[in-house]
């Protein structure tokens, strides 16, 4: 974690004029709060949202479990702290500022003790309007920091609690400004990130209030916890489903450059947050995808996939790559040209993912390969002759269902030519024969037997290729050997018309009255 804070307050100034004492005190206070905050950033725990059925609690650490009694006490203390804050704000005499900060700090501490802060009690006691007042322009940094911290934790809970922050949003956004004390800006970004994480409705409110540009600017520096918090908040803000925010983000001056810089050089934690931003940029916005494809992004994503072993990082990086391949035909046609070093690099890292123990990596890497295999004949040849195929064949017989389905897409795509204008793809006999000889047919027939409509369809389509395309009319025999007829006959009276017609059509054509007679 980069230390960009003011230096230790242990040094004594040489001059001891009143001005310096005040300045020193101000910075001391801000440093203390800033430090506490930085520490808490490092330790920010994940808050599990309880699902509608009441389950979904991630078992926390033992001392985070709050008993009923403790909870009751906490609520009472919280209400009391809000009352204290109220009177502190009303007070206008000597030491008013310190009173306010102390009251805020007390409330903040109550709200930061555990993963389940007494938010309801705070809201009931009327905390929000008070906190909004504490955010007014010109307030001391310490005050802004504590108020934003309270709001952050209030927003970290249930949907209606997050929504309660509505009155505070314009001020939180304003304090992201370039003149703000950095820890203040960061804490506001954190609060806003929680709000954006709630849902589409709040996201739209934030966007309409101009939250995006200042958050984007906070991503521009090279390092610091602020950059990471801003990236995380942005990933929540642009996640759609409306692509407008993603498109707006990529257009921010210097942002593409910052993204590339972070992907290239930053530590894994920061790179992870930035990668999630890229995930949403590439999944939602065609414009952003185009911009990214033309930049060095793919190269940098490949680098990260090659060098990192952190699942947290690999998932969004792999997915970004997948989105860029899926979202823009230029990726495979102009960047990932077969024979170029970058293309070999991509295949290599995808193979690395196929070899990993992680289900998500295997599944999504297969998906990416299937899209590359949907490219030109040269792409198909490239994959066909790579290390990927033996791995895919093994996965087709042994992996969990969702992985097998993606693998099926890859293998099938390798066996047909690119879809031409007339929509009638031809077979690539060499690939088909080789793959069938290496035993992939049974895997496809298993898919036909699955309950998943899409998977069954894939299986039947592949069977059709085999029946049609194996030389010497070997297709039907091979299918029969693998109990393919049986699998197809299950669909004879199946409720799904499409599958029924497909299966019956194949049986009629290849296993009709004359089948077996010529043997």
């Amino acid at each position: 974690m980069a230390d960009d804070s003011p230096a230790s307050h242990r040094r004594d100034p040489i001059k001891s004029s009143v001005g310096n004492v005040a300045a020193q005190r101000r910075r001391q206070n801000a440093v203390t709060v800033g430090k506490e905050r930085r520490e808490s950033l490092v330790r920010a725990k994940r808050l599990c949202r309880v699902g509608p059925s009441g389950d979904g609690d991630v078992p926390g650490e033992e001392n985070d479990m709050v008993t009923d009694e403790e909870g009751f006490l906490l609520d009472a203390q919280t209400s009391s702290a809000v009352e204290d804050l109220k009177s502190a704000i009303a007070y206008q005499g000597k030491g008013a500022m310190q009173k306010r900060v102390n009251a805020l700090r007390e409330l903040r501490r109550l709200l930061s003790k555990s993963e389940f802060p007494p938010v309801e009690a705070a809201l009931k006691a009327g905390a929000i309007p008070l906190l909004v007042q504490c955010l007014s322009f010109g307030s001391p940094d310490e005050q802004l920091l504590e108020a934003a911290w309270c709001l952050t934790n209030i927003a970290a809970g249930k949907p209606e609690e997050t929504k309660a922050l509505l009155p505070a949003l314009p001020l939180l956004i304003a304090h992201l400004g370039e003149k703000s004390f950095l820890p203040v800006a960061e804490q506001c970004a954190w609060a806003l990130g929680n709000v954006a994480g709630e849902g589409e409705e709040l996201r739209n409110v934030l966007l309409s209030q101009g939250a995006l540009p200042p958050l984007a600017r906070m991503m521009l520096p090279n390092k610091g916890s602020t950059v990471r918090t801003a990236a995380w908040a942005l990933s929540n803000l642009i996640k759609g489903p409306d692509p407008k925010a993603a498109t707006e983000l990529i257009k921010v001056d210097g942002l593409l450059d910052a993204i590339l810089r972070h992907l290239r050089k930053s530590d894994e934690e920061l790179a992870t947050e930035v990668a999630w931003v890229v995930v949403y940029l590439s999944a939602l916005s065609n414009f952003a995808t185009g911009v990214l494809v033309k930049s060095d992004a793919i190269l940098l994503l490949v680098e990260r996939l090659a060098t990192s072993n952190s699942l947290q990082l690999l998932i969004p990086v792999l997915r970004s790559l997948g989105n860029l391949v899926a979202g823009d035909s230029h990726t495979t046609s102009t960047v990932l040209i077969p024979g170029h070093e970058i293309t070999d690099g991509v295949i290599k890292v995808l193979v690395k993912c196929l070899k990993s123990d992680h289900r998500v990596l295997k599944k999504e890497a297969s998906w990416v390969l299937s899209n590359i295999a949907a490219g030109s004949i040269e792409h198909k040849q490239l994959i066909y002759s790579s290390e990927a195929v033996p791995l895919l064949l093994r996965l087709l017989s042994t992996a969990p269902f969702d992985i097998r389905k993606e693998v099926a897409y890859v293998l099938g795509n390798l066996c047909v030519t690119p879809t031409g204008g007339d929509g009638k793809p031809n077979l690539i006999e060499e690939h088909l024969v080789s793959l069938v000889q290496r035993g992939c047919l049974s895997g496809f027939i298993d898919l036909v037997r699955s309950a998943d409509i899409e998977a069954a369809r894939l299986g039947l389509q592949f069977m059709e290729l085999v029946l049609r395309g194996m030389p010497n009319g070997d297709g039907p025999k091979l299918v029969e050997q693998e109990d393919g007829i049986d699998a197809m006959e299950r669909y004879q009276f199946h409720e799904n018309e499409d599958l029924r017609n497909m299966a019956n059509g194949l049986v009629d054509k290849y296993f009709g009255e004359n089948y077996g007679i010529d043997e």
Binding site: I14, N20, A156, P214, P221, L284, V416
Partner: protein, 247 residues
């Protein structure tokens, strides 16, 4: 590499075609990879225990050779603590030299100055020009009066109705003068002029310290240590007279 071309395509069978498949970010396709990420959709900022804090104290680096300015994007390095105050005042505060209100962005400051202190601005308003800018960056709409802009913020940008860009200072000038005179009479009363509420109140301790030193009757709130006047006329539009000294 041989290809097989089938001339007898049965048009009713949906043949295998290789196409790119794209998924939306919230597609179920991605849900297994999203599980952990969803847990991070919201994050609580927690406190440390005493022990943990002590441990971290030891780990945290302190740069003995000076301070880095903590303001976003600045990165200036200052060798002495007291230099920081000067640096901060000259480079980072967006404070109004007329009324000392502070804003988090230069843009908001300049909007404030136009609207609150610029008679040229008021003249144009009086003649019916739309001068009040929308506060949201990038919106660019302008309105003929404060209320119209306010309504726009509420309607279009979902600002709360309680939001006020221009907050009147408490208490009124009359009241402050009263307080001033009261203080002159009663030296024991060290109440800080409430005008200070408008600016950074860290100055509060400062002024009371000065007032203790002073031999005069009133504790002048014009005492400023660089915070207000250092950049004096920089932000003031040419049409404004230098401000009368405050009470």
């Amino acid at each position: 590499m041989a290809m097989v071309v089938d001339y007898k395509h049965d048009s009713s069978f949906p043949y295998w075609t290789s196409i790119r498949r794209r998924f939306a970010p919230d597609s179920p396709f991605f849900s297994s990879g999203n599980i952990e990420r969803e847990l991070l959709a919201k994050q609580v900022a927690l406190d440390f225990t005493e022990d943990e804090r002590n441990q971290l104290e030891k780990m945290i680096d302190t740069d003995a050779r000076g301070v880095f300015c903590p303001i976003v994007g600045c990165g200036a390095r200052l060798t002495l603590l007291e230099d920081f105050e000067d640096h901060y005042n000259t480079r980072h505060t967006a404070s109004c030299s007329v009324c000392s209100r502070v804003y988090p962005t230069s843009r908001l400051l300049s909007i404030h100055i136009s609207e609150a202190h610029d008679s040229f601005f008021q003249a144009k308003v009086a003649r019916g020009y739309a001068m009040y800018e929308c506060l949201v960056e990038g919106c660019d709409l302008k309105f003929k009066n404060y209320k119209g802009r306010q309504q726009h913020l509420v309607d279009k940008h979902k600002f709360p109705t309680s939001f006020e860009f221009f907050k009147k200072a408490h208490p009124s000038k009359k009241q402050r003068l009263k307080n001033q005179r009261k203080r002159a009479v009663n030296k024991k009363d060290e109440e800080v002029p409430s005008k200070m509420e408008v600016e950074n109140e860290m100055m509060e301790g400062l002024v009371s310290a000065v007032s203790k030193l002073s031999t005069s009757d009133s504790s002048p709130s014009t005492v400023s240590f660089g915070r207000r006047n250092a950049r004096g006329l920089t932000f003031v539009p040419r049409s404004i007279q230098p401000p009368l000294q405050k009470k």
